[in-house]
């Protein structure tokens, strides 16, 4: 029971608990806040995984960007708050019934495989490696470009769709 275990348990609890609240709260705004909480927990896990940069990105994009967007959308469509229209649909029990064995299967699959993982230390300049890999033509330059184009397209598309006519 080292310090890391404590942190892992704490962050894991935050993540899963937040996620559970997200899918169960009736009030969508609260659900969004719990989603932010869950994202925060995930960021903590990244820190535990010694990927601080990703932790930062997690906070920056998910909490600073995506969650804010979602909350804005919630405020823009006030029907969200209509108590008769929010909450679960008719198949929620079936969904739960399906999801439990799915989770079981996933966990079984994971545990049935022997992860011969003897992780070495993370090199000091892992962020440098990441950055170079992203602009390296042999490496991930193409996916990187594609991702940026995708973002641009999404931006334009979103504006076009949501524009007042």
């Amino acid at each position: 029971m080292t310090f890391q275990h404590v942190l892992f348990i704490v962050f894991g609890a935050i993540t899963l608990g937040g996620a559970l609240m997200v899918v169960t709260r009736r009030n969508v705004f609260n659900a969004a806040l719990f989603m932010i909480l869950s994202f925060f927990g995930v960021a903590g896990l990244y820190v535990l995984l010694e990927a601080p940069f990703l932790a930062g990105v997690q906070l920056f994009i998910y909490i600073g960007g995506i969650s804010i967007l979602i909350i804005f959308a919630i405020m823009l469509t006030r029907d969200m708050m209509n108590p008769d229209l929010i909450g679960r649909n008719s198949q929620w029990i079936a969904a739960a019934v399906v999801m439990v064995p799915l989770c079981a299967i996933l966990i079984w699959t994971v545990s049935s495989h022997d992860w011969a993982a003897a992780p070495g230390p993370v090199p000091e300049n892992s962020i440098l490696t990441l950055g170079q890999a992203l602009v390296d033509q042999e490496g991930l330059a193409l996916p990187f470009e594609v991702a940026s184009v995708l973002l641009l397209v999404a931006l334009i598309g979103a504006v076009t769709i949501a524009r007042e006519r």
Binding site: L16, A31, I66, A95, C103, I107, P121, L130, A147, V153
Partner: protein, 105 residues
């Protein structure tokens, strides 16, 4: 000091998170809540990617890079999804998926 937590823990956690998100996607009625479920699932995926990066090739960059790509995709998806939801809200006055059935056969 390397990680003292076995890789399985992260994978279990990711699996649980994924299933919770999927449950949200399946069981919520309004589109934005479903979007949140999707976000949770994406996060689960990312946890897996980063965990694999950390435990299987900490020297490389592919795991982190793909996590970043997932971020990009998530951002795009949310932007377009919310735009669609808002457009739907304008035209159909609803955000409930069941009510949007123009092409219902």
């Amino acid at each position: 000091m390397g990680p003292q937590i076995p890789l399985e823990w992260y994978l279990f956690l990711a699996a649980a998170l994924f299933c919770i998100g999927a449950y949200g996607v399946l069981s919520r009625r309004n589109a934005i809540a479903i979007l949140m479920g999707v976000e949770l699932m994406l996060n689960a995926v990312n946890i897996n990617l980063v965990a694999f990066w950390r435990f299987l090739e900490p020297g490389g960059a592919v795991g982190q890079a793909f996590a970043l790509f997932v971020y990009a995709v998530a951002a795009a998806e949310v932007a377009v999804g919310l735009a669609l939801i808002i457009a739907t809200w304008r035209t159909r006055e609803t955000v409930i998926l069941e009510d949007v059935d123009l092409l219902k056969g």
